[in-house]
Each structure stands twice: as C-alpha cells, then as structure tokens.
Point group: C2
Chain length 100, copies 2
C-alpha cells in the first residue's frame, strides 16, 4: 500500500508542470496586475494581453525587459521597476498556471 501511494505521488509530481517560481507567492503579488490583466489573467480591455496560460519563460522575459527598458511601455515600465527576480519568477509561474 505504501509503495502504491509513493508511486502515485511520484507520478503526480512528475506530471505536474514545472514552473521556476512559486505560484502562490505570484498570486499574492498579482493584485496590481489584475486591474488591467484581469484577476484570472484574462483581460477585459482589448489593448491589454491575456496572461492566463501564457508561457512562463516568455512572461518572465517580458517583465525583465520592461524592467530594464529593453521593451518599452509607459504603463509596464513603472510596474516592473519594483519587481525582484523572484517576484518575476513567481508572477510568471502564477499566470502560466492559470487556465486560459
């Protein structure tokens, strides 16, 4: 019985999507994002992208590019300025984990 439980737990772990960040910490940090991108990562505004289910690595790169100025956006630049690398990993993991 223990063996079977372990096998199931291992299978569940291996099939879980691998995100670099902490989904729960990202969710906690996402309040300021929700105003434009929606609480569940689906934007109500045509000019703002949906983030739910987007690729984690892509999201992290965009946030880093907004922070560094490599990608220029007057709204996103000040938002990203205050984010640490860990914040970015967590936020990206959170949005990647949501159902589109």
């Amino acid at each position: 019985m223990k063996k079977m439980t372990l096998a199931i737990a291992t299978a569940a772990l291996m099939s879980a999507p691998a995100f670099a960040g902490d989904v729960e910490a990202g969710k906690a940090k996402s309040a300021m994002c929700a105003a434009c991108h929606g609480a569940e990562g689906v934007s109500a505004i045509p000019m703002y992208p949906n983030l739910a289910g987007q690729k984690q690595a892509y999201l992290a790169k965009q946030l880093k590019d907004f922070r560094s100025g490599a990608r220029k956006d007057p709204v996103m630049a000040p938002m990203a300025m205050g984010l640490s690398d860990a914040d970015i990993d967590n936020l990206s993991a959170f949005y990647a984990s949501l159902k589109p």
Copy 2:
C-alpha cells in the same frame, strides 16, 4: 417563418466576435508564424508566446510595433517588415479567433 430565420441570423451575427480582419486570409498568411507559434497558435517553445485567443487589438499593435521598431526583437522584426496593415489585421483576427 422568414421573420424567425431573419431574427436567428441577426442574433447569430450580433453575438459573433467582432474582428477587424479576415480570419481566413489571416490563416492563409500564418504559415511562417506557425514554425514558432504553433499551427494552432500554441507554441511548443517556452520562450515563444502562445497567440491563440489573444486579444486582437493587442496582437495588431505588437505586429505594428515590431514592424516600426517600437518593439525590438531580432526574430520578429524581419517577419513583420513585409506585412501590410491588412495582413496584420487578418493575422491578428486569425489568432484571436483560435481556442487557447
């Protein structure tokens, strides 16, 4: 009976998502996009964003920004360079119409 058919047709038309571009023309133009973004707009590559179900207005702005250089990307710049405004409207409508 004619009245009812008209009413149903009108309702169907009004509830259809309004895209500025031509979805079928966009699909025909999307072959070069599919290599990186997937045939159905879901990318197989972590660094490349999913496009399926993304906001049409957001997609169109990004393609115009890649074309003008306002958004800089060494891969997307040459892709966008050859696109007309109509191509951009059509491609954006196509990807926005896909199920994420």
